[in-house]
Homo-oligomer: 434 residues x 2
């Protein structure tokens, strides 16, 4: 029996597109053996036909006309690697309209427009693969949808931005400050010239939106609380170590009685938690299901080949889907049906660092404000023998409501002896691999 | 549109079967929403109709006649949770013959009979799901087959026996010996009354056979080298820590130029490797693909609900497959086509411990034997100030060929001052999450 042939149109031939080309070429025989399908890239949309490229693609495959792909009835799968919202959204909708399967790595678009895209795909009986959009080298989307399909997911959290994890890892291992490591990361290509999208947590928040949808059926358009890593200092990292923690930027989504929490912020991760050892550009996602218990996935979060590997996995799945599998009706619960929990309602332990004038009685004043708000203190570190007249006081709190803590911090900030805005870092709830 | 109904026959209602019943009952609505299929358990094969059970199953579903399931044309999926080779194999073949999808957790059967079972299933166009057979709580089989389908797997290794990992973890954290921890584990239900199947590495070897097939297409019937954990002593664990390692029972399968290595043995894992932190009954599998790079999966390897979660994932997949998806032709490369590499051809670093008479010149004799065989020494520890006349000497070698090392060890064992058979533990090749 001859194997089925499936034709692909690529939108974009940048880093990931070139990786997809390489994998489909180099591993063609293995892929055909495993899937029973012969995949062929028929057309590739590029900006510039004459640009010199790192991969050896025949010039005849390149086009600058999107419709050469979107309107070609022979093309079965459209792989979108352009990024951005417009005009990409229109290309995808047009491809769906023409009955083509979609594979995309575009988390920004999906975090905003999933409802429309998935609903349209369902109506047209085509699939939308987006494994590459979250933690490229980790098949986390497939695992949630299929491997853990029999579970109610209870919580999911992880390191989902490689740039931030690289910066925090280097700050930790080399006791260096944020700006100098960021500069190095930019020179090494691990961070963009404009790093805000990564270091402010926006990229992680888009990915967390998709994970929240997969876990709980809700795409939280406005509901993700975001805090970046710009304010983390070597001093906080040092205290974290003394207290038994490592600072990581985590995306956290959890089902609570009151609703769903979805938040991205620097987090104190216990040193014996498996996530504490995930360094450099690696990503890792930890989850808890009602049947399966705790599980963790670790892999490269970005980069040419890991992301391309995820895209190829989706292409093959789309090819099989094309042959036979009908998509399942997408479910998007509204944020009003399942309420999102505000960060102010969070119950957590907190790491607090105050910068104070070095004179007697200051800690007593701070402790007084915390005590009034009923916030228990688990540990205190106060640096002694400082030459400086300005010293840090570090407090680890017991579990408390964030709203109450913030009120107490407002009072503390107004104390005469307190010099700067207090630093607040949330502590990861203890669970996991024990 | 009404959702499709799929009927299931369960062979066995032990721990895992009861878990499957619970999940399909408790998460029925979510499963139907996610898959578009309504699953119903129609019949359950048991040994004893009157036995008191932990789950509330209607008596009308129970039968002691396998054919009530195997010959019922209404049953779409047969879920085999009996274990053992016979008569289980015949039940599975008969169910396939009748065109039923198969889900099984039976690693012993698959490690021996996969070729026959998968070939027959392919001929009958039915699927065989076996996610639960290796590392229950980790969707590793699905990830290799689909998530990493575009990759050539280069190596895969992991902790795939929870009993051994529990024993080694406890020995490490409590500095206790093998036999006392084994006894405790048996009392706590983490180890069987007859523990040989686990502690001698046989269970891990069966799982490694399946992983080797998934990664490289070869089912190594005789080719897995197996060594258990019975001989690991607290002394070795102590020295491992001093040298920067943790001792884990690993299953390792790697593609080398000369062929495929498949081996199960206690291994020195560097303390900064992600596997070093996987403790207790957790399993973890680390792999390297040519595109995706390094990835690791961690989860509960056994137990009622994690294993049942994997079975349910396979049931849902079989349901979808039933509706639409045709199985792919199974590939079994013969062991003669891709040669299996003998453990004697392994290149590795080694931890060696010698028990010697405490007198001058003994280490010189040992070093002489190693030197003659061209084996480089990376580190030596010799305990001083011992009251005993018998002292340990620990040697960490550079990379060397196992065959040469064994010849040298034979000579060393014959030295008058050497009291016992030397202890040999292989060191994990350095790679991974850096």
């Amino acid at each position: 029996m001859k194997n089925k042939e499936i034709k692909i149109g690529l939108l974009g031939l940048g880093t990931v597109g070139s990786g997809v080309w390489e994998i489909l070429k180099n591993n063609a025989a293995a892929i055909e053996e495993r899937s029973g399908i012969k995949f062929q890239i028929k057309k590739i949309l590029v900006h510039d036909l004459k640009k010199k490229r790192s991969v050896d693609v025949p010039a005849s495959l390149l086009t600058i006309q999107p419709n050469d792909i979107l309107e070609d009835p022979e093309i079965d799968i459209v792989v979108e690697l352009l990024g951005g919202i417009l005009p990409t959204q229109n290309y995808i909708l047009k491809a769906i309209e023409s009955g083509k399967e979609i594979v995309t790595a575009n988390k920004a678009l999906l975090a905003e427009k999933s409802e429309e895209i998935f609903q349209k795909a369902y109506e047209k009986s085509v699939s939308v693969g987006f494994e590459a959009s979250v933690a490229g080298g980790i098949p986390i989307i497939q695992s949630i949808r299929e491997g853990f399909v029999g579970n109610q997911i209870e919580e999911m959290y992880g390191i989902i931005n490689g740039t931030c994890n690289y910066i925090l890892s280097e700050m930790t291992s080399r006791k260096a400050d944020f700006h100098s490591i960021l500069k190095e990361a930019q020179e090494a290509g691990y961070a963009e010239a404009n790093p805000d999208f990564d270091v402010k947590g926006i990229d992680a928040a888009q990915k967390l939106s998709l994970l929240t949808w997969l876990a709980f059926g809700v795409l939280p358009h406005q509901g993700v609380y975001v805090e970046g890593i710009e304010k983390i200092t070597p001093l906080d990292i040092e205290y974290a170590q003394k207290l038994g923690y490592v600072i990581k930027l985590l995306g956290i989504t959890r089902k609570q009685e009151e609703g769903i929490e979805a938040r991205v912020h620097p987090t104190m991760v216990p040193q014996d938690h498996p996530l504490a050892r995930v360094n450099g550009v690696f990503n890792a996602v930890f989850l808890k299901g009602d049947a399966v218990g705790e599980a963790m996935f670790l892999g490269r979060g970005a980069g040419m080949m890991p992301t391309a590997s995820a895209v190829v996995s989706d292409i093959i799945r789309a090819g099989l889907s094309r042959s036979v599998l009908k998509p399942v009706k997408p479910v998007f619960k509204s944020e009003s049906m399942i309420s999102m929990v505000s960060i102010n309602e969070l119950h957590s332990e907190y790491y607090l660092r105050f910068s104070v004038v070095d004179k007697p009685g200051v800690f007593g004043q701070i402790a007084g404000c915390l005590g009034e708000a009923n916030i228990g203190i688990a540990a205190v570190y106060q640096k002694e023998n400082e030459v400086d007249s300005k010293i840090p006081i570090v407090v680890l709190t017991h579990k408390t409501l964030e709203k109450n803590l913030k009120q107490a911090l407002e009072k503390i900030e107004k104390l005469e002896a307190v010099l700067d805005t207090p630093t607040l870092i949330r502590v990861l709830a203890h669970s996991g691999n024990k």
